[in-house]
């Protein structure tokens, strides 16, 4: 009985983790169709912010909820101003340019802080479920992710910002004709995406640790999630994370961690063969 409970719980944690690390990318890709290869490095910068701040005595939650989003958001603003705004609508060029940005960020962080930094311990301790125990911080991350998704939904559904965002996603030219400044919308979107990534990176730092190249461990998973999710940002990320995270955890329990990664990729390949535009191109279409 506790075995079933723990598998369900672990699945929830993995799904939430996927949602959390993909959110920033989903916003940028969903809104702007910009393939941001520096996404992993935005996560990494968030993690470094949390770790360096913790070494200077700043409480973890303060750096997660305030410092990291602001700092990485600012980095996003600079990257948008210097690189991205010149490349809107040029999908392949954005890939190449953001890849360059990612290499620069890895280089800068390595030069500034070296290749290995001691991490921060995971806070909050653990809780027992039958013969299993699970870290409370992991459950805390699930709660934060749920709050993030609900907040995202409310903003998109009921606020003026959400209305502008949805209008832009559905028909850019029409929105522009109605007097919405597309440049400003894009800049805000990119900065929001970067800030979200910084937020996520800081939150997972106490579990994953930080190294300059950590972004590479996340990038592929995030892209697969976002692309499999399809056009709707929230429903797409949720459904793809649910499917892929679920497959990953269940396969880890049934076989080995390596085969679980293979199963995750295989699921994504089959999914994109059947639904080339992602899950939300066919299901949950109204959620756009």
């Amino acid at each position: 009985m506790d075995y079933v409970a723990i598998i369900l719980l672990q699945t929830t944690i993995s799904i939430a983790n996927l949602v959390l690390i993909s959110a920033g990318l989903a916003v940028i890709f969903g809104m702007m169709r910009v393939i941001n290869f520096a996404h992993g490095e935005f996560l990494m910068l968030g993690g470094y912010t949390a770790v360096i701040a913790a070494q200077h005595g700043v409480p973890l939650l303060l750096s997660c909820f305030v410092l990291a989003p602001i700092l990485v958001g600012l980095v996003g603003l600079v990257v948008e101003y210097l690189v991205i705004r010149h490349l809107y609508g040029r999908l392949l060029d954005t890939m190449l340019a953001t890849w360059g940005v990612s290499l620069i960020l890895i280089g800068l962080v390595t030069v500034s802080f070296g290749n290995s930094v001691s991490g921060i311990s995971t806070p909050f301790g653990s809780v027992a479920i039958g013969r299993f125990t699970i870290g409370l911080y992991e459950l805390f991350l699930v709660a934060v992710t749920i709050a993030l998704v609900v907040a995202g939904y409310l903003v998109m559904r009921f606020s003026r910002i959400g209305l502008i965002a949805r209008a832009t996603m559905q028909d850019r030219e029409m929105a522009e004709a109605l007097g919405i400044n597309q440049r400003a919308v894009y800049r805000a979107t990119f900065v929001t995406g970067a800030a979200l990534s910084g937020f996520a990176g800081a939150l997972i730092a106490p579990i994953a640790g930080v190294v300059p190249t950590i972004g590479a461990s996340y990038l592929a998973k995030c892209f697969i999630t976002v692309i499999s999710g399809g056009p709707a940002i929230i429903a797409g990320t949720l459904s793809a994370s649910g499917l892929l995270g679920g497959v990953n955890v269940i396969m880890t329990f049934l076989s080995t961690p390596v085969l679980a990664e293979v199963a995750l990729l295989a699921t994504a390949v089959i999914l994109l063969r059947v639904l080339p535009q992602g899950i939300t191109s066919k299901f949950f279409r109204r959620s756009q």
């Binding site: 075995y3 723990i6 598998i7 672990q10 944690i13 993995s14 983790n17 390595t110 290749n115 290995s116 930094v117 001691s118 991490g119 311990s121 995971t122 909050f124 301790g125 653990s126 809780v127 027992a128 013969r131 299993f132 125990t133 699970i134 870290g135 911080y137 992991e138 106490p206 579990i207 994953a208 640790g209 190294v211 190249t213 950590i214 590479a216 461990s217 990953n248 955890v249 880890t252 329990f253 080995t256 961690p257 390596v258 679980a260 990664e261």
Partner: protein
């Protein structure tokens, strides 16, 4: 200054190459210096293992040069950084052997990197020293393995850990490449010989840093002991997640790798206190040689330098053993130097006395079992002059000098 000269020399070399298309090597300027190469990761995910090894290599060469070099000639060391990229290892090995014409190559960290370089250096007949602990079994006349192998550590370590924790069920977590796979087989062998059982072994690619599902799986299996064969910066996350899941005090842990990259400094004491490890060198060894070595090391590289690891200490031994052999042979030519090494040369240094075993080209060395506590090691047990029993059982270079294989221990596969 040294760099300047080198650049100048390279410039000359390039000019010479351009001017003479007949491969007349511009070796004249270098004739009085002995070229040697170091190939270790100074960047990328594996650099935590590389940095102390590079420091020790530089220190050993500087000391030899300060004492007048070898055969009265100065040694010129070129350090290559393969950036934790296996392809670059083969490339730099080729470069060291052909363009630089190194007399000897010191290097390799992951077993994958050693196996990338070994055939290259065999082909160019360039002497090769590998100084990190590894899974054993390399049988190659051109290669000398300085680090400890499972027969020197795990054979004592496994029963020690099983007895200390009163456990028979062992769960193995290992890096997914040759070192992790083969070491896991050795662990299975020694666990079974001591009446226990490996209940499950999980393998992880080097970039995995999420161990949540695995930790639940360990909880489901409820082993008595967890054995970590995890490698590199990303895998370090395991120790943090293990503590966060509240498992740290429930199931004891032993490791064949924790600390080889100075993980005891990169993790907190709550994360690592009580992990049991076994190596052929700890920086806490109390011997005049080691104290002197540590003083020189920190004087040269500063107080904040990476702590000295087994890989670092054995690199230092390797350079000195090579220098001794060259003096003995009276030349830097490969074959006479190998023959000199095969006379059973010894070096007494920071890791005690290590002696080349002629039959396997491995080291006879002292090994230790220690507990990690508060960013340091507490030595619990020591074993004097352990022969490389694993490789001795399969390798005889005296009888088969042309052997160049890596033998793998035969353990029947277990289910799960």
């Amino acid at each position: 200054m040294k760099d300047m000269q080198r650049r100048h020399f390279l410039g000359l070399g390039a000019a010479g190459l351009l001017a003479t298309p007949f491969l007349a090597r511009p070796a004249l300027a270098a004739a009085d210096k002995i070229q040697i190469a170091g190939i270790h990761d100074a960047s990328g995910g594996i650099d935590i293992y590389g940095r102390p090894m590079i420091n020790c290599l530089n220190l050993a060469v500087d000391k030899l040069n300060a004492a007048g070099g070898v055969l009265g000639r100065e040694i010129e060391l070129v350090n290559y950084d393969p950036q934790s990229n296996m392809q670059l290892y083969a490339q730099y090995a080729t470069e060291a052997a052909t363009r630089q014409r190194a007399a000897v190559v010191f290097g390799g960290i992951l077993s994958a990197s050693r196996e990338a370089m070994r055939p290259v250096l065999d082909r160019y007949r360039t002497l090769y020293f590998y100084s990190l602990l590894y899974e054993g079994g390399v049988c190659d006349r051109n290669t000398f393995c300085m680090g400890s192998t499972p027969g020197q550590t795990l054979e004592k370590f496994t029963p020690y850990v099983m007895q200390k924790f009163g456990g028979k069920k062992v769960y193995v977590l290992a890096a997914d490449y040759n070192y992790g796979q083969i070491t896991t087989r050795w662990i299975e062998k020694f666990v079974r010989e001591n009446g226990g059982d490996v209940v499950r072994a999980d393998f992880f690619p080097l970039d995995v840093n999420d161990f949540g599902s695995t930790i639940r799986q360990i909880q489901a299996q409820a082993p008595d002991i967890v054995m970590s064969v995890l490698v590199g910066g990303a895998h370090n996350a395991f120790y943090r997640q293990w503590l966060a899941s509240g498992m740290k005090d429930k199931i004891p842990m032993a490791s064949t790798t924790f600390g080889i990259g100075n993980e005891q400094v990169l993790t907190t004491s709550e994360e690592h206190d009580g992990i049991i490890v076994s190596y052929a060198y700890f920086d806490g060894i109390k011997s005049p040689e080691n104290e002197a070595f540590k003083t020189e090391y920190y004087a040269k590289f500063g107080d904040k330098a990476d702590a000295i690891t087994e890989g670092g200490a054995m690199t230092y031994h390797a350079v000195n053993l090579w220098a001794k052999a060259v003096e003995m042979a009276g030349t830097i030519e490969r074959d006479p130097v190998i023959e000199a090494l095969e006379t059973g040369l010894s070096f007494s240094g920071p890791a005690g006395v290590t002696t080349i075993n002629a039959q396997t080209h491995h080291n006879t060395l002292d090994s230790y079992i220690a507990e990690v506590r508060a960013n340091n090691y507490v030595v619990l047990e020591s074993f004097s002059q352990q022969p490389p029993s694993d490789t001795l059982a399969v390798c005889d270079l005296g009888a088969n000098p042309n052997d160049a294989t890596q033998y793998v221990v035969e353990v029947p596969e277990i289910a799960g």
